[in-house]
Symmetry: C2
DNA sequence: AATATATATCTTGATGTCAAGATACTCGAT
DNA sequence: ATCGAGTATCTTGACATCAAGATATATATT
């Protein structure tokens, strides 16, 4: 089936036949799909009273395992936002009682962010909902295709994640 | 090579062995890669004095072909933002002299947004820069792999683009 | 022709994000 | 011990985005 990127690429080939726009076949689809996923997630989380950014922070802490705490810096690399944004997010989550800030015992510059029991529950509940939604989206592909897709994407994400991006 | 999503998935399997987190192998990579691309684009465009959102609007109009005009509604489906955001974007681009607003002759509710000659030049220049950057990112894959990846992604984007998403 | 429904765009107010810089602490070199 | 460079977090101010609703016009139904 045709998608919006097929139309976009066809338009460029008509308007700029001198350019090779093949890269857009992959990367425009990545960007557009991410935006669609954002919208879908926003809808899914609103049933749990969570914003997507709240989910991102809470589940990062949840994944860390007991006692569910990370430094703001570790949260940055997981969520790919700037430090100012993370300070703001932590403030708001703390005000809602989903995380708390503790002094880092080994570095007095530092802070540790810890999930509260309620924060942990919210993370667990909404993860299950997200996975159900994602499974529905991925039903377009066979299991083998999903594996292929994941492997191809990994080749593109790895340089960003490993080089100091 | 391992990426951040490999670590993320491993962490979930340790913390929540009861859940099947396979969907994250694909969709978390899509979301994270899109964020990396956003950052890279912001950097690339700043050399041309353009923001990513400006690029998105200008190139949508450029692709439309002479006389380079679309309705705000058509721009919405291409850029996946809300109508309020688009009004705001058009205002700012008009103030910079890159687009102009014209009344739609066939529908008095409507408006047409048209690229100015300078807007067209800026779109053309920055497109070439973007393609160069994207080619470098995609050098991780062979041509055949890029084709496979595009085809797999299309299966996921097509439902969003065709059903009234 | 009159009315109801649908459509296209804009306005508003709240909120989230970013870039840049400030602050406070650590650690290695002298 | 002291200095200087590096690191971790926070603050600030400008700006972009969204959701919801307002306004004006078009189109379908009777």
């Amino acid at each position: 089936m045709e998608d919006e990127v097929d139309r976009l690429v066809a338009a460029w080939r008509r308007e700029r036949p001198d350019l090779d726009v093949e890269p857009l076949e992959v990367l425009s689809r990545v960007s557009r799909l991410a935006r669609h996923l954002d919208r879908a997630r926003r809808l899914a989380f609103s049933e749990h009273g969570l914003e997507p950014w709240e989910f991102d922070v809470l589940t990062s802490l949840r994944r860390a395992g007991a006692p569910y705490q990370l430094s703001p810096g570790q949260l940055l690399t997981q969520t790919l936002v700037t430090s100012g944004t993370m300070t703001n997010r932590i403030d708001r989550l703390a005000k809602k009682g989903l995380v708390e800030r503790l002094p880092d015992p080994s570095d007095r510059r530092g802070v540790l962010v810890r999930l509260t029991p309620e924060g942990r529950d919210r993370a667990d509940q909404s993860l299950a909902g997200l996975l159900a939604q994602e499974r529905a989206i991925l039903a377009q592909l066979s299991q083998g295709q999903r594996g292929d897709l994941a492997a191809l994407l990994r080749r593109l994400t790895a340089p960003f994640d490993n080089i100091p991006g």
